[in-house]
Amino acid sequence: MELLKFVVKRLLAIVVSVACVVALTFAMMRVVPSDYFAQMELRYGANTAGKQMLDQQREEYRRIFHLDDPLWKQVGRYFVRVMKWDFGPSYKEPNEPHKITELVNAKFPVTLSVALAGMGIALLVGVPLGVFAALRRNTWVDYLLTSASMVGQVVPPYVLAVLLTLFFAVFVRNFQIGDSFPLAWLALPSEGWGSWKNAVMPAIALGAAPMAAVARYIRSSVLETLDQDFVRTALSKGLGRLRVVVRHALRPSLVPVVTVMGPQLGYMIVGSVLVEDLFRLQGLGSLFVGAINERDVPLVITSTFILAATVMLVNLVVDLLYMVIDPRIRPKDLG
């Protein structure tokens, strides 16, 4: 009951915050220098006739997109549509009323699954590595893992993406799998999500840095937990060292890791642009960056909406995870 109240309260807060973010984006897109038509002109150049045509189009857009309405009315209209999961047409294709919805429906699952796979790799590899380093504290194994994770944390995902591509390309070529250029096997078909194999390298590229972070946090967190009295109790039961760590020290040690990794998942969704680009994934990242460059206002606003809502929902899930990990944490502690 207490929990239900907490979740409902948080969901309401998320709705309000997302509304604020969207309204702010509406306002900012008005003050941003240049607009869609100016960008078109810049990109394609225009003679006098072309300029006239663009001006004409601008007038037309004022009507189609209700640009002369007051801000609150525009924001309100947007929200009414969003309730029905309808993001309207983009500037680029004003005659397709559900264009943005289609784009989001097709591309969001790609971005989300790559981010989740990356997080999965980060946790599944990072946690055991951290525990192992903690068990072998101050030995060469520990030093090796700690330095490796330091390197892992500073290598940007796009550099890693290139290295991975090179490695697998050479690997595939050397082992003579197919005649085609290896990248063709690795890249996605231009539409849709394709096979899970296509997610492996992007997930590694995205997950490597968080994995290194997880390993470091788990190591220090486990070492801290090992100093606590209940670990001594576990030892007094005659349990072996590994069992003491896995059964007793690991779960309390996860709390700081969740704190760090929750926002990380948000960043991974937001920041996967370069990785998506390098692996030719049809994700949200490149769509949104393109939208900003072209000043495609409806698309920019929708991207902000999607990203803000995702990050906030992830944070809610993180808070719920706290309560799963540590029964002492109650909804009222999380505010």
Binding site: S236, G238, L239, G240, R243
Partner: protein, 331 residues
Amino acid sequence: MERTNDPVLSVRNLSVSFADAAGTLHAVDDVSFDVPEGGILGVVGESGSGKTVSLMSTMGMIESSTMHVSGSALFRGRDLLKMDFAERAALRGREIGFVFQNPLGSLNPVMRIGAQIAEAPLFHGLINRRQARDCAISLLESVGVANPERRLDDYPHQFSGGERQRVMIAIAISCGPRLLICDEPTTALDVTVERKILELLFSLRDRRNLSIVFITHDLTVAMNFADEISVMYGGAIMERGSALQVLSNPAHPYTRELFSANMEVGKGKRRGEEPAGTPAEFFRGREGCPFEPAGGPPFVSRSRMREVEGEPGHWVNDLHRYTLETDGVVA
């Protein structure tokens, strides 16, 4: 008390030191004591006197690469100090149970009470998964926690301080051990709760034929509770004997001081010369009777036990007298 059997635990000439870059720290020096079968040994001393280290080091409960232990500790005829990690781990929980000072911190905060209680018997193969619940219920019952069926799925923070210590005791006796090591089990508790926990330990001793080592800084509690007393200071035993012997004829000035400190609280009466520092400071380098002020002659060992005349089994560390009488002579 009649003792027909051998002691459950017999520690002889136990020395524990920790060597690090700063030097060697002699935490325990030449300590010997027995835990009688079915009896209670009270180990009394202030913090840093080595009472915990002397027990825990023999049980493999101190994991330190810098620790050096010598002497012998016979548990039912087997020398604990000659065992490896796995052999001692097999005894811990199974034949030797532990109760610690801080009951809240000593229980895993994210694990249900029932799971924590049944863990040791499961691990040592005494019960299977299906029996775990019933086992935990009967253990909770035997340590006097009300409504055990309902409390089983609670977490430690949902228990009161006294109940937590009862849970700790349930964990300690879960495998039916022969020996219970209680390290200041009542220090963190209210006086009324302390009384009840002591009564519980007493009744468990009788019902389950347990032998108990009771580590405490409270001489009064030890006198009321224990059959045998060892008084420790600065890593050495100052005096040991039956509770009656020590109470009626305290032979060492430190024991007498402990008694008078208990009886004359608030009067500010202390002996003329304080010990030269906290016990921890004695550990480094200085040798000799730890109870003597600094500046005394260095000695090879910190104990020179002598049996009190006419009182078999009552031993006193005579090093302080030796120091005074042979001023300046290196033994």
